[in-house]
């Protein structure tokens, strides 16, 4: 019982080349906008046709270019939650949900309808039209409608990205509940690393139409491995780098040698350090210390952001500016133009491939 996707599709200059497998679990497709996440979902749903490859769901061939199989969306048993929920505006909540169970009749149909209404807290809203519902109610109706069609796979396309942060958290909790209860495979598309971290166990990073191997979400944040994954997981500082030996790299844009706790692969070209793992001190340290001049001190909501530039760096590339996120107390007296020493612990230094 699983989903296996291996497809290629050319659209003008954009080339989609995606490969991933998912068990009965929530798999996140993480990538910046325009990386082909939504196109991938539409290919799996049967709305778009890939040029070649295959899509297998629970042993059923949904698409296979060699065998010339391309099931229409109606026969794929794949639920897709759109960002705008795509409820039928001319139908009530009940009719919207019933449109997902066209093949059932009589008592069964009524029982299942009632259980969906209960499960998604839609009591009292049965005869409301989508325009009369709040965003949360619309999402619940859309999810109920999808589950009414008994899908083997549920795909969620950026379900939370159009919402403000308060409502977002509220709806995220509901999605988490659904993901826990749903027994099939779920694909969760997002560009938001925190959402992915909280809702999914596995993640597939996508970059410019290409997918990276599926991995654990926790692993992605601890050891991103590639520059794309590091940036998507929220790493703000990176520098071009060359490998010195298996425990150290030279960061070109920062002009410093950094020791790493992890093994440095042969083919690295970047090194990254997360903004809140840098520490600031007034005295020069022995290892992994950058001699910097502060360029800006920005006060943020719950902390401060210090922008600094390494004095030993020859590069004027924008990466040569580093960003340090720390508590407000630590930077209270800091002014732009001051000399500071910025340290990164070897366990926080991430060697990255391209």
């Amino acid at each position: 019982m699983a989903l296996s996707v291996d497809i290629r599709k050319t659209m003008g200059k954009f080339i989609l080349d995606v490969r991933f497998d998912a068990e009965n679990e929530a798999l996140a497709l993480l990538g910046s906008s325009g990386c082909g996440k939504s196109v991938t979902l539409k290919c799996v749903a049967g709305i778009l046709k890939p040029d070649e490859g295959s899509i297998v769901l629970d042993g059923r061939l949904l698409f296979d270019s060699k065998k010339k199989i391309n099931l229409p969306p109606q026969e794929r048993r794949v639920g897709l939650l759109f960002q705008n929920y795509a409820l039928f505006p001319n139908m009530t909540v009940v009719d919207n949900i019933l449109s997902g169970m066209k093949n059932e009749r009589g008592e069964d149909r009524r029982r299942r309808l009632n259980s969906l209404i209960d499960r998604f807290y839609l009591q009292g809203l049965e005869s409301h039209y989508p325009a009369q519902l709040s965003g949360g109610q619309q999402q619940r109706t859309a999810l109920a409608r999808i589950l009414a069609s008994k899908p083997s796979l549920v795909m969620l396309d950026e379900p939370l990205s159009a919402l403000d942060s308060f409502l977002r958290w509220h709806l995220e909790m509901e999605l988490a509940r659904l993901l826990e209860q749903f027994e099939g495979t779920t694909l969760y598309v997002s560009h938001n690393r925190s959402e992915v971290y909280r809702l999914c166990k596995k993640v597939c990073v996508m970059h410019q139409g290409r997918s990276e191997p599926v991995r654990d979400v926790a692993g992605l944040f601890a050891e991103p491995g590639t520059l794309t994954a590091a940036l998507l997981s929220g790493c703000k500082n990176y520098s071009r780098a060359t490998r010195i030996d298996e425990r150290s790299v030279f960061a070109l844009d920062w002009g410093v040698t950094l020791l790493c706790e992890t093994l440095v692969p042969e083919d690295i070209s970047f090194v990254g350090v997360r903004a809140h793992y840098f520490t600031i001190s007034d005295e020069p340290g022995d290892r992994n210390t950058l001699d910097c001049t502060t360029t800006r001190v920005v006060e943020d909501v719950f902390g401060s952001i210090v922008m600094a530039r390494s004095t030993t760096a020859k590069s004027t590339h924008e990466n040569s500016h580093i960003r340090i996120e720390t508590s407000k107390e630590r930077v209270r007296r800091l002014r732009p133009g001051e000399r500071i020493f910025v340290r990164a612990h070897p366990k926080d230094v991430m060697p990255l491939r391209k």
Partner: protein, 244 residues
């Protein structure tokens, strides 16, 4: 006063509106799916009658359905009936002239239709036929209604092409617009004014109908409703948050 022109005009306009209604929706629906170049060409051809002078349309029509035309001649031979200078000749003329209004209005409505509704319906297992009748059409209802009213109004007021294919035969082919022209030529101003008044009333009714249909689209109302909904939404979240 002989009311035949009113009856004839309404009859002609009703039939041509019915034809343009189905043809316009079908054309708009299927042309929207064709590749861009094909769409551009078909779009030009189907909109042409709207921008051409009606007399040019009438001229082409006479050449086609006239007794010596490629359509008129065989019909005359097979059925022994003429297609010009009879009351239903006006149906051909008004249908062709008014069709682009229906086609373009419906196309506009289909273009602003949210395709995700169609896609989500397909993934739910709903057939394309079901989706067309139960989702696409109801959600384009206002555009379709507006197009129908405009088509009817245009068909009712058509003069140029109609007069060329039907002429003016009192009690046989006379319509309101051809009657007004004839009465003016005869210098019968009193009767002409009566028909002008009838025309004004019909036009006013049509315009009010179009405005009523369009005001339902009105932006300010939607914006206000959205704003209210956002507030309700926030309240709901606060309430739910408190419950948890």
């Amino acid at each position: 006063m002989d009311f035949f022109p009113l009856y004839n005009s309404l009859r002609v306009a009703a039939i041509s509106t019915a034809v343009a209604f189905f043809a316009g929706i079908a054309a708009a629906y299927y042309i929207a799916k064709t590749p861009r170049i094909v769409k551009g060409i078909l779009d030009c051809i189907l909109t042409l009658p709207m921008v051409l002078p009606p007399t040019v349309v009438g001229f082409f029509l006479l050449k086609t359905i006239g007794p010596f035309g490629p359509v008129g001649a065989p019909v005359l031979e097979l059925f022994g009936g003429r297609l010009v200078m009879v009351w239903y000749s006006a149906v051909f003329a008004t249908t062709i002239v008014a069709f682009p209004l229906m086609y373009r209005t419906v196309r506009g409505a289909l273009e602003s239709f949210d395709e995700n509704l169609l896609y989500s319906g397909q993934t739910l297992g709903l057939s394309n036929t079901y989706l067309f009748w139960r989702v696409v059409l109801p959600n384009c209802k206002q555009g379709i209604l507006a197009g129908t009213v405009l088509t009817f109004a245009r068909a009712l007021g058509e003069y140029g092409a109609t007069t060329m294919v039907t002429g003016y035969i009192p009690g046989r082919t006379a319509t309101i617009s051809t009657t007004v022209y004839q009465l003016w030529r005869e210098g019968n101003d009193a009767l002409a004014y009566k028909w002008v008044a009838i025309n004004l009333v019909i036009s006013a009714v049509v315009l009010i109908a179009v405005n009523l249909l369009e005001s339902r689209y009105a932006q300010p109302e939607n914006a206000a409703r959205d704003a209210l909904r956002e507030d309700a939404l926030r309240e709901e979240s606060v309430r739910d948050g408190a419950l948890r």
